[in-house]
Assembly symmetry: C2
Homo-oligomer: 199 residues x 2
């Protein structure tokens, strides 16, 4: 029926369809057929863009990581160091539908990595990316370059973020995310030093 579609746009559409299927029916429901149906195309069209299932999944995972990276990079600056850090860190929590989807996809990646070795490197890349971000935040807050104590603080922050993310995902029904943010804010203040008081 058509020709010269925007190939990249189509890829993005299909990747988003993958995410939606993961959210709705779980990772093991992701097949070329379910994804094509979700995207409103026939299997042949999907396979014209992604010849194999593995390519579809790899692209979907990479796009997710890329989206998250861009979103963090585009975070607005704030005068207060702690506020700025909190604004960045909030993007790692499943507070919005899209960030929630990202986390579900991320968990699906971890869960399926034994089956799809291609995905482990993407998972590791995302993991290290978040770890580096935590380290940079810690450096900014403490106002000094990294040292062993700061590395540990960053690791602790990283663990806290991932743990809270899971808890927010599980306690989806409840509306109050405030406690999680408060815990994080407290942690950021603690890294920043003794002087700064909680707002």
């Amino acid at each position: 029926m058509a020709r010269t579609i925007d190939r990249d746009a189509r890829k993005v559409e299909l990747a988003e369809a993958v995410w939606q299927v993961i959210i709705d029916k779980g990772i093991s429901a992701v097949s070329v057929r379910t994804v094509a149906q979700q995207a409103g195309v026939v299997v042949g069209s999907l396979r014209h863009v992604f010849p194999t299932r593995a390519e579809l999944l790899v692209f979907s995972a990479e796009l997710m990581v890329q989206r998250a990276t861009e979103r963090v990079r585009a975070a607005p600056g704030y005068p207060s160091k702690v506020e700025h850090a909190l604004e960045i860190v909030k993007h790692f929590l499943p507070l919005e539908p899209d960030t929630r989807a990202e986390l579900e996809v991320n968990i699906a990646l971890i869960a399926e990595s034994p089956a799809l070795p291609e995905l482990t490197s993407i998972r590791d890349h995302a993991y290290r990316g978040l770890g580096d971000a935590c380290l940079q935040i810690a450096e900014m807050l403490a106002g000094r370059p990294r040292d062993p104590a700061l590395v540990r603080s960053a690791r602790r922050l990283h663990a806290l973020i991932d743990g809270l993310a899971i808890h927010l995902l599980i306690e989806a029904s409840e509306r109050d995310n405030v406690w999680a943010i408060e815990i994080l804010q407290e942690e950021l203040v603690r890294i920043g030093g003794t002087e700064q008081s909680v707002h």
Copy 2:
């Protein structure tokens, strides 16, 4: 060709086969056929004990939760409060092959809960159980009954445990788990020590 096998023992064997398949090939490789093969029985025998796939998975998940609970309950007592708490908390981290398997199964549960609604209640039960354990540990360490500040400390500890668990799972190749335990120990000391209630 036998009769009157120990039905419960067989169920446990099959559940352990489920875990092994999850670890080796991921959650979506779990089928009655793969599990039966892993357990060294034919599909008919498996289905004699677990008529449907859902029953197999539900039992496997419940057994995992039960095992973890028992393991924590059986943890030896220590004179020092912090040491005692640390000994309990260590059981929640993937430091040994079996606890590692438990975490992988747990993640698989979260990842597949959209597809298998029966599993969400088990997942929630496990989640609340760990949350309660953290609260009890916090009460013991602080030496006072729960109050809002202590509840928050417990939630923070809970998040830290889950986050560190994931990190240990991902950084499987590296042998040093020391940093994670040190971070936890620090947190336990902090709960037990002077409580600066950040409001």
